[in-house]
């Protein structure tokens, strides 16, 4: 019976994969549509008059009425939603009241800053979190294990905006080890040509090493801070995946055959734990977006998080909903990516078993 199923799974190796991807695509479409609906609903219940926000409170009644019709507010609610969805799908997220520019342009110009910050953070989180988790699993119940556990729990418990403030106070104001708020010192700010929008990459490409190190001194504190949070999550998950692998029978076989402990841990166990780990790292990359909202506010980091909170402060609803939608969509995409990677990397899932 199992043999038969096995054969069938092997013969149909591709269709299950395609079926899975197709299912994921349909799910993605439905979820993105749902995201749209949620932001649309929030935009409707908000007590701010969208017409007044667009024309200002000194507009005449006829102007008001004209914009009212233009915005489609006289139509039934479902039609309004279709208009909204149509606009968003054509890349029109409305105009920001605060900057006077289309929201999508605004977001496109701030997004690289967030991307740079979270990439820096995930690199730190992975490079420290994975070895820490492996180490804790190997020495389960020992001091190292407890230490990694407590460090992780501390990371889960400290408000990131508070740690950021203390970090600025200590490392920037007192010790002067790192750069202050912002992405780069004011002296370099207008020298950097925008190629990718990633400050570190741009300065390196242009060979402006002074500017590069200045930008580095600015990113190192918020980046490490965010990295610490993803480290807490990644090390914890690594530990439990590794424990599961180390309890397997093939590990005993390897030991019996005399494979060195180092190879068993890093070559055999971690390699098998790597598949779910990739998923975890992709997911924590998504969660960094959430941490970025608060971190960017503290470090005056001109990314999407600061854009969101600034817009909130001035009740700029188009910008708020646009940023929420973009963050939500990015999050969904990362989840999908995690799912796909899992499918591609794990032969068991690939065969549809």
């Amino acid at each position: 019976m199992t043999e038969l199923a096995d054969q069938e799974g092997r013969r149909g190796a591709l269709p299950p994969l395609f079926g899975r991807i197709l299912r994921l695509a349909v799910q993605l479409a439905v979820t993105l549509f749902g995201l749209l609906f949620v932001t649309f609903l929030i935009g409707r219940v908000v007590p701010i008059d969208p017409v007044l926000a667009a024309v200002g409170d000194r507009a005449s009644a006829s102007t008001y009425h004209k914009v009212y019709i233009e915005l489609g507010l006289d139509k039934p609610i479902w039609e309004q939603f279709l208009i909204y969805a149509d606009h968003v799908l054509h890349g029109d997220l409305g105009k920001s009241v605060l900057t006077g520019r289309p929201v999508l342009d605004d977001i496109a110009s701030v997004f690289p800053a967030t991307l740079e910050l979270s990439t820096f953070a995930i690199l730190i989180g992975t490079c420290i979190g994975v070895p820490a988790g492996v180490w804790a699993a190997v020495r389960q119940g020992k001091l190292v294990d407890q230490l990694v556990r407590v460090l992780g729990l501390v990371g889960y418990s400290a408000p990131i905006f508070w740690l950021g403030l203390l970090g600025l106070l200590f490392f920037y104001a007192d010790l002067g080890w790192v750069g202050g708020p912002g992405r780069i010192g004011i002296a370099y700010q207008f020298d950097v040509t925008r190629i990718t929008g990633l400050m570190l990459v741009d300065t390196a490409l242009e060979g402006q090493w002074d500017a590069f190190w200045n930008a580095f001194s600015h990113i190192v504190l918020p980046g490490s801070l965010l990295g610490y949070y993803s480290m807490a999550y990644i090390s914890r998950m690594t530990r439990s995946f590794m424990l599961a692998e180390l309890g397997q029978e093939y590990i005993i076989t390897a030991r019996v055959k005399g494979v060195s402990e180092w190879r068993i841990v890093w070559g055999h166990a971690l390699r098998n734990a790597a598949v779910p780990l990739v998923t975890v790292i992709a997911l924590s990359y998504g969660y960094l977006l959430q941490g970025a909202v608060l971190t960017e506010t503290i470090f005056a980091w001109p990314g999407i998080g600061m854009y969101l909170t600034n817009s909130l402060g001035s009740a700029d609803m188009n910008a708020v909903l646009g940023a929420t939608l973009v963050i939500g969509a990015t999050f969904v995409m990362l989840n999908l990516l995690a799912d796909l990677l899992y499918t591609l990397l794990d032969p068991r899932v690939r065969r549809g078993q």
Partner: protein, 303 residues
Amino acid sequence: MMSGAFSREWLLTDAPASRGQARAGQAYRSWLALKSNRLAMVGLCIIAALVLMAIFADVLAPYDPITGHLNTERLLPPSWKHLLGTDDLGRDIWSRIVYGSRLTLMVVTLVAVIATPVGLLVGTISGYFGGFVDTVLMRITDIFLAFPQLVLALAFVSALGPGIENAIIAISITSWPPYARLARAETLTIRNADFIAATQLQGASSLRIIWGHVVPLCLSSVVIRVTLDMAGIILVAAGLGFLGLGAQPPQPEWGAMIAEGRQFIIDHWWVATMPGIAIFLVALGFNFLGDGLRDVLDPRAQK
């Protein structure tokens, strides 16, 4: 008789005489396991201290949390008179933190009370009926899970208007989906059990089966999950407060207090630092307890 009824032997007996005794024994065994976990006990003590602080706030706080002495006591460093110093409006920070514990407890309790039943209901209905109902409900759950919690809560609060009540509503709206997922998974394992089939044959309505037989069995795992999430809820609430979208001044909410102290951080570090320590300790307490609870109650974690 009473002392005999709750003795160690009565609780740990291998042959409980009643359902109540078996349950009490099970709870006592879990308690013993939890008690041997040092971190969990530290967490429990922190939470107990928080609750006591909230109850006896009037006794513990030496000054009024709302009105301070603007002329003479602005931004004083910690001293014996003001244990944790004073803020820019001359208010004693210790007193504000003590009263702030009430707000923290209120947020945590209300979110738990609102989000747990919603998650349970959606999850059990979805799992019990399956098919179309399941697809629709789970898609809705997925949509809510598609936003990072803080971002969605921000968007909701911006729509509802700032304030602690709206912050609680926003956090609740964004908290229930994981509970629904969990309850659904539990329901799927129960749904095809014989006793459910027996109840169906007796002619019980679906509502009665879900409410009377499925929900009670899902309850414990969902409640544990909620406990594990409490630290996260506190941090999201503090984040909203910090951004000025949660509790409004002059309420002594801890996150908002950090925001108030932010502009004086260089010269008067204590204003922003002290409430942060309070948030950190309470979140740590819930995390320690949750971590211990998971070890005790998750059979897979036991060696």
